[in-house]
């Protein structure tokens, strides 16, 4: 067993960790579809899916079976390569972004020094999925959806990044593990409150969740960019969206709510509980709010959120400079 050196063991452990995290992320994302329907049911005075298994817990299995066996239809007028590529990009980029999330002190896939930038890069790439889908479908509704998505994502990504610069400036690092450790005393939600608010808004916008679901706005665009999709390809968009919610929720926890920090309970439980809280918040928002008009969403982003993040960054910078040791 000479090949089983320390390095190899580390690699094997890391690979297993990565696979486990990926599987858990996908399963949690998929399970979200069930949880969302049950929670919406709760808030909307109805049951939601409760027939398959105890409390409807096996609904997910039934849905998957249905989706796998559906005809894998590609419209004859579609651009086939892009049409197939789009859902892969959608799900792939989101799962990749999970790589940088430090779950507990010992769990996490990669400790990139540019962890936060990596997330933003993946979030940026994610919009290509919507663009490809909208363009490749050769459908006018899909095209309008894609147009909305690209405009919205560009506007909201500007301050998605800026809203986090306060956190980065305080920590002095893009590494998410460093950011969590910097919050051992005080969670960043307190000093970076406006950063949190704007990031939350941008996060919802980037995942295209209600009330920022403009690209798919059912009442207007009848599902928007994925109108021509069915079966597993549609399923990938669908699950991708839920994994996106999980990702943004865990990022909120990591960046502003101290990650795994918390008294008494083990680190993983804290991380999971906090993440779950934000995932529920996403669902509650969907149950509670009407959808603003598309142009209002854009002007809200540019005229309110962007200035807010800039001011936040400015004030953070001033505070850091004032606290910095003088006389260098």
């Amino acid at each position: 067993m000479s090949w089983l050196t320390g390095d190899v063991v580390d690699i094997i452990v890391a690979v297993i960790q990565a696979i486990v995290i990926m599987l858990v992320a996908v399963v949690v994302g998929a399970f979200m579809s069930f949880v969302e329907r049950r929670m919406l049911g709760l808030w909307q005075d109805r049951y939601g899916p409760n027939r398959v298994g105890p409390f409807g817990l096996f609904q997910l299995g039934a849905d998957m079976l249905k989706m796998f066996f559906k005809e894998d239809w590609i419209p004859p007028f579609a651009d086939k390569r892009l049409f197939v590529l789009a859902p892969m990009v959608s799900m792939g980029t989101i799962i990749l972004a999970f790589m940088v999330i430090p779950i507990t002190p010992s769990w996490g896939v990669a400790d990139l020094n540019i962890g936060l930038l990596f997330f933003m890069a993946m979030a940026g790439l994610n919009v290509y999925a919507v663009l490809f889908a909208g363009y490749a479908s050769a459908n006018k509704y899909a095209l309008i959806g894609a147009m909305r998505a690209s405009a919205q994502t560009i506007s909201y990504e500007v301050f998605l990044g800026l809203s986090l610069m306060g956190v980065v400036a305080v920590t002095g690092s893009f590494n998410l593990r460093d950011i969590v450790e910097a919050q051992a005393g005080l969670w960043f939600i307190v000093p970076q409150f406006f950063g949190f608010v704007t990031f939350l808004i941008a996060g919802i916008a980037v995942t295209h969740r209600h009330p920022f679901d403009q690209p798919e706005a059912e009442q207007e665009l009848a599902d928007g960019f994925h109108i021509e999709y069915s079966g597993m390809k549609w399923g990938m968009f669908f699950v991708g969206e839920y994994i996106g919610i999980t990702l943004v929720s865990s990022l909120l926890v990591v960046l502003f709510f101290g990650g795994w920090h918390g008294p008494l309970l083990p680190p993983f439980v804290w991380f999971a509980l906090k993440t779950l809280f934000f995932m529920m918040l996403f669902i509650l928002l969907r149950a509670a709010l009407p959808r603003p008009r598309y142009d209002r969403v854009m002007s809200f982003g540019w005229k309110i959120c962007l200035p807010l993040t800039l001011i936040n960054l400015l004030v953070t910078g001033v505070v850091i400079l004032l606290n910095a040791p003088t006389g260098q």
């Binding site: 909307q44 005075d45 006018k140 309008i144 009330p211 149950a287 009407p290 603003p292 209002r296």
Partner: protein, 598 residues
């Protein structure tokens, strides 16, 4: 035999006198000369004047402005007179086009009729005087083949563009069994599909400017926010609406044609399906118009039961409106709550009528049954349940900034515009115009009830929504008064034309047995005449204009529905708006396509 029997015992009121001396009739005769008009005495309750084709535009212009101006072109349609037996004293005509003008503020109506010969079915178009005549004239062209000269685009509106024949003509069959079995080939399907393709140039639209192309988007006929099989072709510049063309007819079932083959009695269930969210509310104008022809006075109890059930359905329909209204503005949850309330309403409706959506429960001369035991407790429960919920719905609208932003001052129009385009009901009252047929033209005993008519101020999407919530409160008040003061007595009139006749009477002697037998087999025979009834339905003014030729079936049944003109108005209002505004406006109109296409 049966006819003479029925006629001898009916005691209908004499024809109304004095309509020929109405001020507007006098003014017309003075202006154009008495010999240009022919007065027809009917049971419609308004002056009916026949005029010559050459005079039509002149007379219409006279009635558009000045002292004798009318506010609204309420209806416009035609009658195929060729098989009409009883037309003594009427001008010669193969076809008649009738124009129904109304002045809601002053409570005046006027019907003008123009006689046409089969060999020369042409008329000047009324569109230069009344723009809202556009769709009506297209429908008359579609149904009768009458040509309106000067119409901007006289094409079929309800039937498919490839259709052969004009369905409302008397020589056009009314039953599928009179046709060869239907078949559709692949080529035929392609041809039909191609015929539906939108060609912008035909509608005077440009495909683009020098530096950009417009997108033409088929919104519907299957779209989650189109509220039924409704298609609007949008001309888009980005998300901005340059123009749009509504395309209706996908829900057309020929309700007016069916009326010409069903007996007076057996047509009642068809009326339920005109505004399919209105249930028995639809029966009301029809049975009231039939009762005018028959000369039946319904007992107080029957009238009060009718009012109570009609108001139940108003609430039911408004709740459906409210849920979908919130939903189309993107709020997902309220619709589930309003449907819970609708279920509560259905518990009452089901117990009383034995049916849910389409009870077809009113009868000529009354209602189908008496109220069941314990009905008062059910109604009471409903009255206790609703007010809290309505307050909650109102808060959802008023306290939500996003909702206000989406609806305040969006798709707003004023009273003048509304009247000009034939907009009625809550959509008209949202502009601040005080007209509710239950108040200004009471029927079925509404004058005995104490309720208010809510009025809006802005005429925007927000007001149109709020209007419905307040109307539901008023409907609850009316139902409460029905509950407290339900009169004793019969639920059916004691009249030979009451259909079906009271069963106990059947067993008394041979005459009543014969009457019963004839009425449930052939159906009642009504005297030749014309009658009209307008009601404040859930979505606006709904009216039935019935022509009887002294037979068991109606000679012509014209159903004027509120949703039809509401949809015609969409392009005028939405030019320059955004797609999401269009969705919100469509939701705020409150229409169902069955009510539009009939």
């Amino acid at each position: 035999m049966s006819e003479s029997h029925v006629f001898s015992t009916s005691r209908g009121p004499a024809l109304p006198e004095g309509l020929d001396s109405a001020p507007v009739v006098q003014a017309l005769m003075q202006r154009f000369g008495a010999d240009r008009f022919h007065f027809q005495n009917t049971l419609t309750g308004m002056p009916v004047l026949w005029i010559a084709r050459e005079d039509l535009l002149e007379v219409m212009r006279f009635l558009r402005q000045g002292e004798h101006a009318f506010e609204m072109l309420f209806d416009l349609h035609a009658v195929d007179e060729r098989l009409r037996g009883n037309r003594q004293g009427l001008p010669e005509a193969d076809f008649t086009v009738f124009y129904f003008l109304t002045d809601l503020s002053r409570g005046r109506d006027l019907m003008l009729k123009v006689a046409l010969a089969e060999s020369d079915l042409r008329l000047p178009s009324l569109t230069p005087v009344w723009p809202s005549a556009n769709w009506y004239e297209r429908e008359v062209f579609d149904m009768f083949g009458i040509e309106f000269q000067g119409h901007p685009r006289l094409v079929r509106i309800l039937m498919p563009p490839t259709w052969k024949g004009h369905p409302l003509r008397k020589d056009y069959p009314a039953r599928a069994t009179e046709f060869d079995p239907y078949s559709m080939t692949m080529e035929g399907q392609d041809k039909e599909q191609e015929a539906l393709r939108f060609v912008p140039e035909e509608w005077g639209m440009k495909r683009g400017t020098d530096d950009q192309d417009y997108m033409f988007l088929n919104f519907g006929p299957n779209h989650p926010a189109a509220h039924g099989a409704f298609r609007i072709v949008l001309q888009l510049d980005g998300e901005e609406l340059i123009d749009c063309v509504p395309d209706i007819g996908y829900h057309h079932r020929g309700a007016e044609k069916m009326a010409e083959r069903q007996s007076w009695h057996s047509y009642i269930p068809y009326t339920d399906r005109i505004d399919y969210t209105g249930g028995v509310m639809n029966n009301l104008p029809y049975v009231l118009a039939v009762e005018k022809l028959a000369g039946i006075q319904v007992p107080d109890r029957a009238a009060t039961i009718r009012v109570m059930m009609a108001e139940m359905f108003r609430i039911n329909s408004h709740l459906l409106f409210l849920g979908t209204y919130y939903q189309d503005v993107g709020a997902m949850s309220p619709v589930f709550f309003t449907f819970t309330d609708r279920q509560k309403a259905y518990e009452v409706i089901e117990a009383i009528t034995g049916f849910r959506m389409h009870p077809a429960w009113y009868r000529i001369g009354g209602v189908a049954h008496d109220l069941p035991k314990g009905w008062d407790r059910l109604v009471k429960n409903f009255l206790d349940w609703m007010p809290k919920r309505l307050n909650e719905y109102q808060r959802v609208m008023q306290d939500n900034a996003v909702f206000r932003d989406r609806t305040r001052d969006i798709a707003a129009y004023d009273t003048k515009e509304a009247l000009e385009w034939g907009i009625t009901g809550p959509n008209l009252r949202a502009t601040g115009f005080d007209f509710d047929a239950r108040k200004q033209r009471p029927y079925s005993g509404y004058e005995n009830f104490d309720f208010e008519v809510p009025l809006g101020t802005h005429g925007d999407i927000f007001d149109r929504g709020l209007m419905r919530i307040e109307e539901m409160r008023q409907s609850l008040r009316i139902i409460e008064q029905c509950l407290k003061h339900m009169p004793a007595g019969d639920f059916k009139a004691d009249h030979p034309l009451t259909t079906p006749p009271p069963r106990e009477k059947m067993k008394e002697h041979i005459e009543t047995l014969i009457t019963h037998f004839l009425q449930v087999s052939w159906g009642p025979v009504l005297k030749p005449n014309e009658s009209f009834q307008m009601i404040e339905a859930t979505k606006g003014l709904n009216s039935y204009y019935l022509t009887s030729d002294g037979s068991t079936v109606s000679y012509r049944t014209r159903i004027r529905t509120p949703s039809y003109p509401h949809l015609q108005h969409i392009p005028v209002l939405m030019r320059g708006g955004f797609v999401p505004d269009l969705i919100a406006h469509i939701a705020s109109i409150d229409f169902v396509m069955a009510d539009v296409d009939r």
